[in-house]
Amino acid sequence: MKPPPFEYHAPRDLDDALRTLARVGTDGKVLAGGQSLIPMLNMRLMAPAHLVDINRVASLDGVEAGAAGVRVGALARHSQVERGRSHPLLTRALRLVAHPVIRNRGTVVGSLAHADPAAELPAVLAVLDGSVRLARWESGRIATREVGAREFLVGPMESAVRPGELAVSAFFPALGPRTGAAFEELARRHGDYALAGVCAVVRLDEDGQVAAARVACTGVGPVPVVVDVTEASRDGWDAAARRVQEEIEPEDDIHASAAYRRHLVGVLAGRALGGAAREAAGGA
């Protein structure tokens, strides 16, 4: 369990980081929190020729909260964002991510770029329709593009980050008025990747009726499965939960059967939607 040889780069600023990434292209891998990358290197599941460590790039650790939402820099640690409490759903989701020691090192943006369909943060980005800002070195300057969650999360462990690009920040839109959110999941052990999880956002209109209801599910598809249940919820949350069950694509693995995961998502969706609606009503 020792990594294969690689060349190590420790750029001091963003320009340097992007120039390095442009140079190493497909042979390069970005090291931020390292909570997934380092085990994969140690198990020799991955053998990048270059490791570009961005931890010294000071400009990337910011968390900016505004009325529209919160923008999280590439070096912001889970624990830092969790403590910042700048977005209630993000805060709640982060408490479900692994353990404090991992959250002290792991980064929010790194988790998104890793694109594990069982992870919490991609589901939060997806349910909120957030986005990720990607930067690259092009024609002697920094070029950026903003990619929406749907386009960003391509497949299992696959994001839209191209060789030479760096995910510099992620944007999580604010929930807005009369809106509540909840995250329900079931993990075998505390802090494990969940067998399945459901993250829900419910917005009520001024009469307290459901104006919008959306969920994103973890662990039951190649990417977070986003389902708009605004219509279905007219017949109650149980009907909405059944609607969610129809959309997911759970699979058997050694921890749970597909049938159990489908059942579980129904239970969790009912709980999450109900919780989000109660929060929306309380905050109206």
């Binding site: 020799r44 749970a256 239970v267």
Partner: protein, 787 residues
């Protein structure tokens, strides 16, 4: 007496060192040593056509590459079969490096030695082994069919077939008794594979100085590793020393020896004339050490209207894995310890143990007992359910009575000696556990389930251990014993024994274990035996030293030794203030000197004072120094017992199983340190809950272990383990000088049975296989609802 420490909850003396990073584990040693790494088979079953190392030769730092063909004859032989048994008719062990055939994923094929582990792994990655894959045998049922063989010369994959039968008092066999019984039940019970998974893996570090070999190994038995290494390398025993440094857990897997690496690393060190070290990584541990537990049991039982068992017939299948390095200890223990605290009318047990293309099976804490307890305790619950009786009532009618000891179960136990229980009080334990958990108030309460499980554990097996105790002129007491420590707290409990026996403050006692330089004759740490066997040996050695100290002090004080006592390290005449002599001074006097090395030592020099010219300075039959050595060899095992009860909640929607309360009543005879016993129980229960709800080794049809990491092998965290409530009963063992019984494995034994009992109570669904996940409970509910 201030120095009476036996029985006190003395805090663990090793903890400040271990908890502040001062421990010295295997990989903390030998920083300049060369590193070894292994190319391991990616196939469960394959023929090795060719090994091509060409591409690896250019790796910077590479020192050597070895395959089986490079090994000298004595090293190249298959590893020894450690515990032969007549029923193990087809015992097979692995070669240190695979010869022609690999029989499980993870079997070592090539050894690489390089400047560091990085380079060694780089070279491993560039060695091309050409395999011809063969069909893998996975799973007990497939192995039994014998269509495909793991070992070509083992027909039907059958390594062992063994029957033990004990007729009832009326002379009837079990099958006859069952036929004649008023009620009968038959069922199948499954337990899946798990493993010891100590947090520190195995590891070996060796250095050779041209004459002597010193080996450090993360082992449960340094003395036996020493003999095995000396034999394999054809060195005189006196030129080989083996030391177990701090060891980060063993739980059974490190009693197996010699592991291939324990022979190969010292051999490479001798061959290369360089220090060589290998520290196992986690994946290696999963795929190339050992597993346990996986068994399938078929039970038939006959009983009367009170639930009294008249006949019990158990047939089970045991999975050897690919090899039988440790013999058949695990199934023997299952078949004998299954009986628990009960007297069964007539008992027949038969097991077939088969080879599969999986990691070999060797004892893991509990060592076959969790399976046995699962069989017996599920049987008791099923009888109670059938008769509509309380589960504790059915157990009670079957208990051996407190006045029936010694109780002969009329079988042969794992140590080859009779299965005779030395002492116990099972009805009292049952009363205690029912009170502790609140059984009568809880039974039948909706929404939760309550369960119970009982066990008897044979502990403290022989053949022997020894202790050496030396008091030096500074008054310090140096205790050593040959068996090893893996975190149990031996430094504390052995010091408590010595401090109590010798009347010295515990601060002056130091303890060394597992170092053949200090004590060469030893067996090892396994089978809950350290406190019983080494503890007794140390007590006996202390008594020798004490006798000598009092004799010398009697001369010095001109008193009858019988009138002397030792308190706080000082010998005094009981009831006569004033006349005293410190033990350190006694140690000075015990060693007549020519040369003084400090002021105190002048008392032992030739002109220091009156001497008896009629006898030599060291009397005939005496030895210089204040030290003693003794051994304890038990006549047979001593039998500890326990009863556990749990309350669980099952989520009606998600099928999650939550252990709300867990209670243990435990009897390991006299307690040396109740706090350490509780710690052992807590750890055991945690491992038991792992086995009941989380852990399993998942092999696919090709023999790949698909969850060979702590991400997918679900060892529970502290967050999954409930608070464990404990109470002790102390029924002394009549077999040893301390009256103690073993406690190391106790906590783990009945847990799967207890949780199954509680979930069954909560759900009304029979639970016949463990572990049980929420997904599986959901499946059981679905099947019930479809009926």
């Amino acid at each position: 007496m201030t120095t009476k420490l036996f029985g006190e909850p003395v805090r663990r003396r090793e903890d400040p060192r271990l908890l502040t990073g001062q421990g010295r584990y295997l990989d903390d040693l030998g920083r300049d040593a060369l590193a070894a790494a292994f190319v391991r088979s990616p196939h469960a079953h394959a023929r090795i056509r060719d090994i091509d190392v060409t591409r690896a030769l250019d790796v910077p730092g590479l020192v050597a590459i070895y395959t089986w063909e490079d090994l000298p004859e004595r090293v190249a032989r298959p590893l020894p079969l450690l515990i032969p048994h007549p029923a193990l008719t087809h015992g097979r062990t692995a070669y240190p490096l695979a010869r022609e055939i690999v029989r499980h994923v993870g079997e070592a094929v090539v050894m690489v030695v390089a400047a560091d582990r990085y380079a060694a792994e780089d070279a491993c990655g560039l060695i091309d082994v050409d395999y011809e894959p063969l069909k893998a045998v996975v799973g007990l049922e497939e192995a039994v069919q014998g269509a495909q063989l793991v070992h070509e010369d083992v027909p039907g994959n059958l390594g062992t077939h063994f029957v033990q039968e004990v007729a009832g008092l009326d002379g009837r066999g079990a099958r006859e008794a069952i036929e004649a019984a008023p009620h009968t039940l038959a069922f199948r019970l499954d337990i899946e594979r798990s493993a010891s998974t100590p947090l520190e893996g195995r590891g070996v570090y060796a250095r050779w100085d041209g004459r002597d070999l010193r080996v450090y190994s993360s082992t449960q038995t340094s003395s036996s590793v020493r003999m095995a290494v000396a034999a394999a390398l054809q060195l005189p025993l006196t030129q080989v020393e083996v030391i177990a440094p701090d060891v980060g857990g063993g739980f059974g897997v490190k009693i197996v020896h010699p592991w291939p690496e324990e022979v190969l690393v010292p051999w490479a060190a001798m061959t290369l004339g360089r220090e060589v070290k290998w520290a196992e990584d986690r994946r290696e541990h999963f795929i190339s050490s050992a597993h346990e537990r996986g068994q399938v049991h078929y039970v038939r039982v006959g009983f009367d209207d009170d639930g009294r068992v008249l006949g019990l017939d158990v047939t089970f299948l045991h999975d050897h894995g690919a090899y039988t390095h440790y013999g058949i200890i695990v199934p023997i223990i299952t078949s004998t310890q299954l009986l628990g605290p009960y007297k069964i009318g007539a008992y027949r047990v038969e097991f077939s143990a088969v080879y599969t293309n999986t990691v070999q099976v060797t004892p893991y804490r509990g060592a076959g007992r969790p399976q046995g307890a699962f069989c017996m305790e599920r049987t008791m619950d099923k009888i109670a359910r059938y008769l509509g009786k309380d589960r504790t009532v059915v157990r009670e009618v079957n208990f051996i009575g407190p006045d029936e000891f010694p109780y002969d179960q009329r079988m042969i136990f794992q140590d080859g000696r009779p299965l005779i229980y030395d002492s116990g009080n099972y009805p009292e334990m049952l009363r205690m556990i029912k009170e502790l958990i609140g059984w009568d108030e809880h039974v039948g309460r909706p929404g939760t389930g309550i369960g119970i499980g009982c066990y008897v554990e044979g502990t403290g097996v022989g053949p022997y251990e020894g202790g050496h105790v030396q008091i030096t002129s500074d008054g310090r007491v140096h205790v050593s014993t040959g068996l090893t420590s893996q975190g149990q707290g031996h430094e504390t409990v052995f010091a408590q024994i010595a401090a109590t026996e010798l009347g010295v403050p515990i601060e002056r006692v130091s303890v060394v274990t597992g170092d053949t330089r200090r004590f060469g004759y030893a067996v090892g740490t396994f089978a809950s035996r350290a406190a019983v066997v080494s503890g007794s040996a140390i007590a006996l050695a202390c008594r020798k030293v004490r006798e000598k100290a009092l004799r010398i002090a009697g001369d010095a004080l001109e008193a009858d030794p019988a009138d002397l006592e030792i308190e706080d390290g000082v010998v005094r005449v009981a009831g006569a203030p004033g006349a005293t002599i410190p033990l350190g001074t006694v140690a000075v006097l015990a060693n007549p000197l020519r040369y003084a090395f400090d002021e105190e030592a002048t008392r032992a020099t030739p002109f220091a004072g009156a001497a008896d010219f009629d006898r030599p300075p060291v009397a005939e039959g005496d030895e210089p120094g204040l030290e003693g050595r003794d051994f304890y060899s038990p006549i047979r095992s001593t039998f500890a017992a326990g009863m556990h009860a749990a309350i669980v909640e099952t989520d009606p929607d998600t099928a999650e199983i939550r252990v709300v309360r867990y209670a243990v009543v435990h009897d390991c005879g006299k307690l040396i340190n109740p706090m350490l016993v509780e710690g052992q129980i807590h750890g055991g229960v945690a491992q038991g809950i792992g086995g009941a709800l989380y852990e399993r080794m998942v092999y696919d049809a090709h023999g790949q272990l698909v969850n060979a990491s702590f991400m997918d092998f679900l060892m529970p965290y502290a967050t999954e383990i409930p608070h464990v409530e404990t109470a002790h009963l102390e029924t002394p063992s009549p077999l040893n000088p301390l009256g103690v019984k073993g406690a190391g494995e106790a906590g783990v034994i009945p847990v799967a049975a207890v949780i199954a009992s509680a979930v069954e109570d909560a759900e009304g669904i029979e639970i016949d296989r463990m572990p049980l996940s929420p997904s599986e409970l959901f499946d059981l509910r679905t099947a019930r609802d479809m009926k």
